[in-house]
């Protein structure tokens, strides 16, 4: 079996680590690219969401590289992601692309199916080995997230512009050649040390922007046109609470073990969104409130066109914007999103935040001179 799986930002790193540890032969599709999106757009229903389309492109490109099976996670709704696996299966089979779709669903009560799928992937069921691989995967994903967070901190403060991007990008590519969680972890540490050597302006107090929205488009730089790196290079520090490791840990592992994750956002969301309605809408609302209370300068919401839960968030966000006087911008992404129009909006938003900062600073000074 040659297994492939869809890209979503840095997810390929922990997943690769896990499959390596389990001794599974895996083919990582080329990083998200224009061709992949074109393929997916052609195959998928027109109004399907963007991640589904890119996924399909990933699969076809991996198929061309020799992959014969696909590993997906499932879900039980109400967000469409939970039914991706079936859409993929049907579309690929109509295209005559002979790939097997294996879904690792979080079991409701049918653990047998899950175990069978695991057995199929790993060619056996050595529980000890599997648990160890899972543990290592969690560690790797945490480390990847930490590394990413470090780039968010350093990028706006770096003295030589572009230094962070250079190290980080070469790290993302080099991972492809490294096998096994142990080596991958070492490699992450190396990248971290390199990042820490970058010269930064320690005095700087960058503008702070929170990123909220749908998990795929916020976590996948290709889909969001590298928003985090662009903001960072403009001297803005970004924070994104919803991450891959968070998702793996909270949604898969903690749910399976019935443990509670960090739920501050739920409390914060309550006045605006009463319950969980699927996707990450509750996180979007709750985290926006938390950002506002923490004194962030602005919030950017990102989601794929047609995303049901995020449309609900989008229509609620203006209330938070009003109540807390924090600027919020929604970026909606589909295959037609043009770079030019997108960047104009992002730049206008940055300008707005900078101007607000200046006014605040000015008023602050005025206050001081009175004392």
């Amino acid at each position: 079996m040659k297994l492939t799986f869809p890209h979503m930002g840095n997810t390929y790193i922990p997943v690769k680590a896990m499959l390596d540890d389990l001794g599974v032969n895996c083919i990582i599709p080329p990083f998200n690219n224009k061709k992949a999106l074109e393929i997916g757009t052609k195959l998928a229903p027109e109004l399907a969401c963007l991640p589904l389309k890119i996924n399909l492109g990933n699969f076809i490109q991996a198929y061309e590289m020799g992959a014969d099976s696909i590993l997906m996670t499932g879900g039980c709704g109400p967000c469409r992601f939970g039914y991706y696996c079936e859409m993929h299966r049907e579309i690929l089979s109509d295209m005559g692309v002979d790939m097997k779709v294996i879904t690792l669903d979080i079991p409701g009560n049918d653990y047998n199916k899950l175990l069978n799928n695991v057995r199929e992937i790993t060619g056996g069921l050595n529980i000890y080995k599997i648990l160890k691989a899972v543990k290592n995967t969690v560690e790797v994903s945490k480390k990847v997230d930490e590394l990413e967070r470090l780039t968010f901190k350093i990028r706006p403060r770096e003295i030589h512009k572009g230094a962070t991007d250079k190290i980080y990008r070469s790290f993302l590519y080099s991972i492809l050649k490294i096998k096994g969680s142990r080596n991958i972890k070492k490699h992450i540490d190396k990248a971290r040390n390199k990042l820490l050597e970058i010269q930064t302006d320690k005095e700087m107090k960058p503008i702070r922007v929170g990123i909220v929205g749908e998990i795929y488009t916020t976590n996948d730089p290709y889909s969001n046109l590298y928003i985090e790196s662009r903001l960072g290079n403009e001297g803005i520090e970004v924070t994104r609470p919803v991450t891959v490791s968070g998702w793996i840990i909270d949604h898969m592992i903690k749910k399976a073990l019935h443990l509670k994750g960090d739920e501050r956002y739920k409390e914060a969301a309550k006045p605006y969104l009463g319950t969980m309605i699927g996707g990450h809408s509750q996180e979007t609302i709750g985290n926006t409130v938390l950002f506002a209370k923490d004194g962030y300068d602005g919030v950017v919401q990102i989601f794929p066109l047609g995303c049901m839960p995020e449309i609900v968030s989008e229509s609620i966000l203006p209330s938070i914007e009003r109540d807390f006087k924090i600027p919020v911008m929604s970026l909606i992404i589909d295959e037609m999103t043009g770079e030019a129009g997108y960047m104009t909006r992002v730049e206008a938003f940055i300008d707005l935040l900078k101007r607000r900062r200046e006014i605040d600073a000015f008023e602050g000074k005025g206050m001081l001179s009175w004392n």
Binding site: P78, Y83, Y272, P318
Partner: protein, 330 residues
């Protein structure tokens, strides 16, 4: 004076109005529904709602605007789930929040969550909370609900027989006899709030009926038949609408005299984008039944639909006539 409860004539209204109307009326409230959809109602909804929302949700906002000043209290339940193990749509779950954030000057809102996802039977707790907005007597609420459920069951039986909610006034005259000469059966798959709102579906039902079409909807197919087929799917569909739609389509493929299928789809609907596609794949893979999409959006025009429908029906009739002449053995 009795409390005036407002129910927007949109979304859950069409599926559930006998339930809620009876319930509130039994409790002594006066139920006020917004008028049938008009251009003005739709336009106002479109104006206040976010661009990315689907038409039914925009329309719902319009209906809220049209009655909010005429009532003491608005009923916008948080409909997370109306069936075990399934969801409605994320937008139904967030509906009261969307409305509250978008529409100014709202009266009090009954935004109680209805989540029957985990329950085997109806979760009476949420019903009691809803009822207590009107009266404090728990027993009265339970009684009212019992009566409401009876009405609701009758309604669903009527729908199964081929009545449409809008036939209410003149029921019998609209009932066609299946397989009568010249009458063809066409399945229309779509959400009840699109099927039964003739403004928003551009009079689709009237047009079909005027052309001698007997309409079959998923609401007319028994729950057990639907489930039997839905179980054959690789993975259970977790949307109430989706399971019913695909179960019905599979049933129609296997053994019915459906001559054509129309998938009535809301532009911007996440669920339709998947379910419509899967339905089309199934139909094309296993049958030669003609299939078209009719897409609803705020700009859709009557004229275009008329020509498409006529062509579609002509083609079906033509095939129906000529099929018998073609030998099955070539």
């Amino acid at each position: 004076m009795s409390i005036k409860v407002g129910i927007p004539k949109s979304l859950f209204y069409y599926q559930m109005y006998p339930l809620w109307n009876t319930f509130f009326e039994e409790l002594g409230a006066e139920v006020i529904t917004s008028p049938n959809t008009t251009k003005k109602i739709l336009d106002e909804g479109v104006r206040v709602c976010v661009d990315e929302a689907c038409v039914p949700v925009k329309l719902f906002h319009g209906h809220v605007l049209s009655i909010k000043d005429k009532v003491d209290i608005l009923f916008i339940p948080r409909l997370t789930s109306i069936s075990k193990g399934e969801y409605v749509c994320p937008k139904f779950g967030g509906l009261p929040d969307m409305v509250k954030s978008t529409v100014k000057g709202l009266p009090e809102i009954i935004d109680v969550e209805i989540n029957w996802r985990k329950a085997d039977s109806n979760d009476i707790e949420s019903i009691i909370t809803i009822g207590s907005f009107i009266v404090k007597d728990e027993k009265a609420i339970k009684n009212a609900y019992k009566k409401a459920v009876d009405k609701f069951n009758d309604y669903n039986e009527d729908i199964k027989k081929g009545f449409m909610p809008e036939d209410d006034k003149n029921r019998k005259s609209n009932l066609f006899v299946v397989k009568d000469s010249g009458i063809i059966n066409i399945a229309v798959i779509g959400h009840p709030y699109n099927l039964y709102d003739s403004y928003i579906n551009m009079n689709l039902f009237k047009k079909l009926r005027a052309n001698g079409v007997n309409i079959i909807t998923q609401e007319m197919i028994g729950e057990d038949v639907i489930n039997l087929h839905a179980r054959k799917l690789n993975k259970r569909v977790f949307w109430n609408f989706g399971r019913k739609a695909l179960g019905s389509v599979m049933h129609m493929i296997e053994g019915s005299d459906i001559k054509g299928m129309i998938f009535l789809m809301s532009f911007g609907c996440g669920i339709d984008s998947f379910i419509g596609d899967l339905a089309e794949r199934m139909i094309r893979r296993h049958t030669d039944i003609p299939f078209i999409y009719v897409t609803i959006d705020e700009h859709s025009g009557q004229a275009g639909l008329d020509t498409r429908l006529e062509a579609f029906i002509d083609m079906i009739r033509w095939r129906d006539k000529n099929e018998v002449d073609i030998s099955a053995y070539g």
